[in-house]
């Protein structure tokens, strides 16, 4: 993956953001509340997709348990808002708690210099354990403050976000749409800015060649920990939005199925871009909804098949492959300096 070229320059970020802002402004006036509600969940999941897309595509961290931070965000918000009524602190907590969890887990993994293989297995195990733990908290004795954990029943009737300081002014469906879209754009912009900064360059360099980055004096563990914690924070924020969208959260949010879905979004959409995971997420979410309306094919079956096919045949994902295709169609000179002169003179397209 290269830092140079259109897709990573500020131009592409500006274009994407401009497009996003236009859609954000325009869509609520043309769509009805119900469609906006449907779109909101796609947007919330896209934030989650971007969190994994960042840590995996740019920092090289393959986390099999990104759902853990998503779930922690949702549950933290739910429990905190039930106890505190005003949603401002719960919103902040839904970012901070998953971030702290990611920081501790990341510290153990990166400062322990555990290899990538262990990373996958450990993050998978953590999300499974969280699932089992929360799933078994159904009894009334399981509560934090006033909030019962609910076990496999989940936590229903989660109070929605309100304007800070004003408990009665809660967010509307339109407001949720705007907020989710806004968060997605803000996260995108923030990450693009980070990637362009020195920290971002170092993070990518570490993914390219950790040994060389360390020989230059960069502490790879610290940079990876930072990226991983940031990814956890973003996933937690997505979790808070999710809890608001459905006013409900349950342990399946920590499950293997959820973790698998996030990975599939990123693989299908494309590793190495931020837009790719969003595209993959929306496509797969849409597909899953379609599958839900018929009986023949089970969603596991379809998603599993998609994952296998993509790993074998479209390993770079849709967005980068599309980008390659467009580049080949529009480029008039080959990129590699080693190309023989003759081909250039033939005006190869």
């Amino acid at each position: 993956m290269t830092l140079t070229g259109f897709t990573t320059s500020w131009k592409s970020a500006a274009v994407t953001l401009a497009l996003g802002i236009v859609l954000l402004a325009a869509l609520p006036s043309v769509l009805d509340d119900y469609t906006l509600l449907q779109m909101t969940i796609y947007l919330v999941m896209s934030v989650l997709a971007v969190s994994l897309g960042f840590i995996w595509g740019y920092s090289g961290i393959l986390c099999f348990g990104q759902a853990a931070f998503f779930g922690l965000g949702a549950y933290t918000y739910a429990i905190a808002v039930v106890n505190m009524n005003d949603s401002t602190v719960p919103l902040l907590l839904s970012i901070v708690v998953p971030a702290l969890f990611a920081a501790v887990l990341g510290y153990v993994i990166f400062y322990g210099r555990l290899s990538d293989v262990y990373m996958g297995v450990i993050t998978l195990t953590v999300t499974l354990i969280l699932f089992n733990m929360i799933n078994s908290t159904a009894g009334p004795e399981w509560k934090i403050g006033n909030a019962p954990l609910g076990g496999f029943n989940g936590i229903p009737a989660i109070p929605p976000l309100n304007w800070p300081g004003n408990i009665d002014e809660t967010i509307t469906p339109r407001g949720m749409f705007n907020l989710s879209f806004g968060v997605l754009l803000a996260v995108y912009a923030g990450l693009r800015w980070l990637i362009a900064s020195r920290i971002g360059h170092v993070i990518i360099a570490i993914k390219e060649n950790e040994q060389r980055a360390q020989l230059l004096g960069y502490d790879a563990r610290a940079y990876k920990l930072f990226a991983f914690t940031l990814g956890g924070a973003i996933a937690g924020l997505a979790g808070c939005l999710f809890a608001n969208w459905g006013a409900f959260t349950s342990p399946t949010i920590f499950g293997l199925a959820q973790s698998a879905q996030i990975i599939i979004w990123v693989i299908v959409g494309g590793l190495g871009t931020l837009v790719g995971p969003v595209v993959g997420c929306m496509l797969i979410q849409w597909l899953t909804t379609q599958i839900g309306t018929q009986q023949t094919f089970n969603s596991n079956l379809v998603l599993g098949a998609i994952l296998v096919v993509f790993v074998l045949l479209v390993p770079r994902g849709l967005v980068p492959s599309l980008g390659d295709l467009l580049a080949r169609l529009f480029r008039r000179r080959p990129v590699e300096p080693a190309e023989p002169v003759g081909r250039v003179e033939e005006g190869r397209a």
Binding site: M1, T2, L3, T4, R198, H201, V202, I204, A205, E208, N209, Q211, R212, A213, Q214, L215, L216, G217, Y218, D219, A220, V335, E336, P337, A338
Partner: protein
């Protein structure tokens, strides 16, 4: 070595054992500021292990390593770079997906603010002759060019000590000459330890040569006396003459 001046690099009775292999034996090595030393030895002599000790990839079983008087025997992988030790590895270790400019810039930027880092990057690329190719993706370059990029990456951090592991490997004769000139020019302000096999290359640059054999230092002298030393000739017996 002038009395009273702290050497740049010094090892005291350095030993490394891996399982049953005694890879480094009682090595006492001293390097002054801005000194150029070549290290030679047949395969298995312990040259790579010695380098890995200096870069923190291997920890000594016993003995100490001092850099400007400071004990660096137990280093984290990112410490050598921070302390002022630059390493050019045997197989060029670069950020293959990034451009030549970006590779050198990452090195320059670690200790310099952005504007100065840009200047340093440009100057360094000019020095190693890669400024014209600064936009090329490093992974697409030929081997000799990659060696020079890596030299640039190391130089951009301006380290007092530079370790070069076989810098002339895989190069054409012209490239080898260019590399020798570059090393001598670098030596005006930096100390260098060069591990090499190519004897003619060593004669171009070396003032003092350390010979390793089975983990031990067996000779340390000027190149001419090393070449005519009977023990050195014996351990190289059967090896291809360069």
């Amino acid at each position: 070595m002038t009395a009273g001046v702290t050497p740049l690099l010094q090892t005291h009775d350095l030993n490394v054992r891996f399982g049953g292999v005694h890879a480094t034996r009682d090595v006492n090595f001293t390097l002054a500021e801005a000194e150029l030393r070549c290290v030679i030895g047949p395969n298995g002599a312990g040259k790579s292990t010695f380098f890995k000790l200096l870069t923190g990839q291997v920890k000594p079983t016993s003995g100490r390593i001092l850099f400007r008087g400071k004990d660096i025997s137990k280093m984290q992988p990112h410490d050598p770079g921070r302390l002022g030790i630059g390493i050019k590895t045997q197989v060029p270790s670069l950020f293959n997906g990034l451009s030549v400019w970006e590779n050198v810039w990452l090195s320059a930027r670690r200790t310099n603010p952005p504007k100065i880092a840009n200047d340093v990057t440009r100057q360094t690329l000019e020095r190693v002759g890669m400024l014209a190719d600064s936009k090329a993706i490093t992974g697409t370059l030929a081997h000799g060019q990659r060696q020079w990029v890596e030299l640039g990456v190391v130089l951009a951090a301006d380290p007092p000590l530079i370790l070069l592991d076989e810098p002339a490997a895989g190069m054409s004769d012209a490239e080898v000459m260019r590399t020798a000139e570059l090393i001598l020019e670098i030596n005006r302000q930096h100390a260098l330890v060069v591990v090499e096999h190519d004897m003619s290359f060593i004669r171009m640059i070396a003032k003092k040569v350390t010979v390793l054999h089975q983990g031990q230092v067996i000779r340390e002298d000027v190149p001419d006396r090393i070449m005519s030393d009977p023990l050195v000739q014996q351990i190289y017996l059967g090896k291809k003459a360069h």
